[in-house]
Symmetry: C2
Subunit: 403 residues, 2 copies
């Protein structure tokens, strides 16, 4: 009896928007986004706000309620915004997902209702997972409030929570209904959150866009000095590069083993639990980038001047390139803990180990194995690295970038 070959095509569309004062009384963005997608109005909307954001913006819940009160033809605010703890603990405690499920059930939210999550990448990941799996997907509008979430984790197609001490062990691919980046939220970020999110911009620039790397290099000083226009340009370009990769890679849901955007991430994913999640994701990625760039240099893949430029820009942004946890040894074996990260990363990707390294600035190169001695040598080199005047690389004169 004949085999039936099924082919199912699905197109997901969403807008990634940039604004200020999203919940200001006159800002039309949220209203427009919902109106464009909804065939029956008013639609139910449920807000979840990161505890850290609520702390720095005590008027936010009131603003949201007022925003909805003036738009009852469009929005039915089902209850006052729910404040939940953000940060990695949001992803570590499964009770958080249950809280969101229970609310969806109790409030009668359906596949055409909206959950709007306002917060950092970890809270967005957790709420996104709950929203994606209740009713096989309640619509999610993400309002990322950190540099990291606005330029990377908040704009992509994934969600997840941690389980069995494995990062993102549970999760789905579920594009959002929209992403609304409000730059105003960045003003109240602490120093670490301001700086650490820039690591993902360095990452994507290094593997995709040499000109963007030069922008970061040239503006490292003002970026670390909290210059807002420079940061806005960095976030927009970084989000754009991530989004272009996802749409254009031919493998947005990662059926294969190749994952270029995870440059620097095999070590980062291991460092986060090794430091008990005291290291921010972006800080861990900075160390991971430094490690893999150093490894590429020691392997003869990358020129010394490029290697120095990468480490220098990370340091100039205020990001460390080394952390003592790189040198932890396993209790029972003689092996460095960090090396376990390679196999865990392979399991996380599935299939064949595939690691992105650097061929030169703006261009990655994939390898399928890494030499453990050379990794350890790289760690030693990083432990003592200090900003050095880089040899000016041979490159064309570029006009000053305008943003």
């Amino acid at each position: 009896m004949q085999t039936i070959f099924q082919s199912v095509q699905v197109t997901f569309r969403y807008a990634v928007c940039f604004t200020n004062g999203l919940f200001g009384p006159e800002n039309p963005l949220l209203e427009e986004v919902i109106r464009a997608q909804s065939d029956s109005l008013p639609t139910k909307v449920f807000f979840i706000v990161d505890g850290g954001v609520a702390l720095h913006h005590p008027g936010l819940s009131g603003e949201i309620e007022s925003y909805c009160r003036y738009r009852t033809q469009l929005l039915t605010l089902v209850q006052a915004p729910l404040v939940m703890e953000g940060g990695e603990c949001a992803k570590n405690d499964p009770a958080n997902v249950e809280v969101v499920y229970e609310a969806i059930h109790r409030l009668g939210l359906d596949r055409h209702s909206y959950i709007v999550v306002v917060g950092g990448g970890a809270l967005i990941d957790m709420v996104g997972y709950a929203a994606a799996t209740a009713h096989r997907g309640v619509r999610l509008i993400r309002v990322p409030t950190t540099v990291l979430a606005q330029n990377d984790s908040g704009v992509g197609v994934k969600n997840g929570i941690n389980a069995y001490n494995k990062k993102n062990f549970l999760g789905t691919f579920a594009p959002p209904a929209a992403v609304l980046n409000d730059f105003d939220f960045l003003c109240t970020l602490c120093e670490r959150d301001w700086r650490s999110g820039m690591a993902e911009a360095v990452k994507v620039a290094l593997i995709k866009d040499a000109k963007f790397f030069e922008f970061i290099e040239e503006h490292a000083g003002v970026l670390s000095g909290r210059d807002m226009p420079a940061m806005e340009h960095l976030i927009h370009r970084c989000a754009q590069l991530h989004l272009e990769h996802i749409a254009g890679s031919g493998d947005p849901f990662e059926f294969g083993s190749s994952r270029p955007l995870d440059f620097g991430h095999w070590a980062a994913h291991k460092l986060e639990p090794l430091t008990g999640y005291t290291l921010r994701h972006g800080e861990a990625v900075a160390v991971g980038i430094a490690l893999d760039t150093t490894y590429a240099y020691l392997s003869g893949l990358l020129a010394k001047s490029d290697w120095q430029r990468v480490l220098n820009v990370l340091l100039a942004l205020g990001l460390a390139v080394h952390t003592p946890e790189l040198s932890l040894y396993h209790d029972r074996t003689d092996a460095r803990c960090i090396l376990q990260g390679l196999n865990e990363f392979r399991e996380h990707l599935g299939g064949k180990l595939t690691i992105m390294l650097l061929a030169r600035i703006g261009q990655g190169i994939e390898v399928h194995e890494m030499d453990e001695d050379k990794i350890i040598e790289s760690i030693e080199l990083l432990a003592h690295y200090q900003i050095q005047p880089s040899q000016e690389p041979c490159r064309e004169q570029t006009p000053a970038l305008v943003y």
Copy 2:
């Protein structure tokens, strides 16, 4: 700052195959399916078997182990097949999902490993949900063993478990890696499982394919008498119609409110919990089809002769068209419990209530509201309905169908 409009296209491909003796030593099907999809071999494979299947096929685990032992270049059997309880209770107890997660973690399964689930639709739904959410999707091969699962639930793109007393409250859209329908498993089905699965074939025939309905009508006697070639034809055609709808509807992941394949399902979804899940899903669907067909007849949408043909074929297949739970009243209110099913169905679909009714045999018609008095009138009519010699409808002479 410019909005970025993201468009992500994903194509899911999978084969739905038909065979006998899938785990027989010489059957190449499973081997071929895995070989075609895997770039690094051997690949890890983990089997989960429905308790009901294990009971009727005590040699199955041994066959599976032997099958893998002769193919170690291709398959690494990570442990002996795990037997789990099937039926709706598989979807009602969240501990079952945890069992699958824990195994995926412990056995180091990744996105390129395979879980092969052998069983009825409920177990497939539950294991499918766990597989889809671990590592954002471990590959799933479904081996449906009931009529219902082979022709409907096992071939589609959904999974799910029940929560908060709501059917499929948690779930995802996640096409499988392959579906392998082994007809031999049907031989040991009990009478109810043999018959009830045919309700989905009647459903899809009624809204899609008048000729297929005629086939069922003409073969109702042999079908209920367990004629295997007739059942094989029914399953193949029913699966084909479901798959064509999913691929061709333009909305495989159900972003809209229209869901034609849920003809008869609003009442069915309510009857299942109302009967404490003692009614099989197919049995509930048969009642749901009878109810909505009667409603269409009483509303003047459907000719009397067509109405009678529908009820007659259900009865001839051994399916009841009425159940006492249709007439249960809510404890505190004066309302019939079944009527709550309309709103719960709307919530389940999301957006606007959209119910498929019948215009004639082979053609559905969508409505957006139902009259409660007419639903009750339909129930009364069904309570006393008995097979009647239908007036032969005016239709062209068709040659005998060959299967």
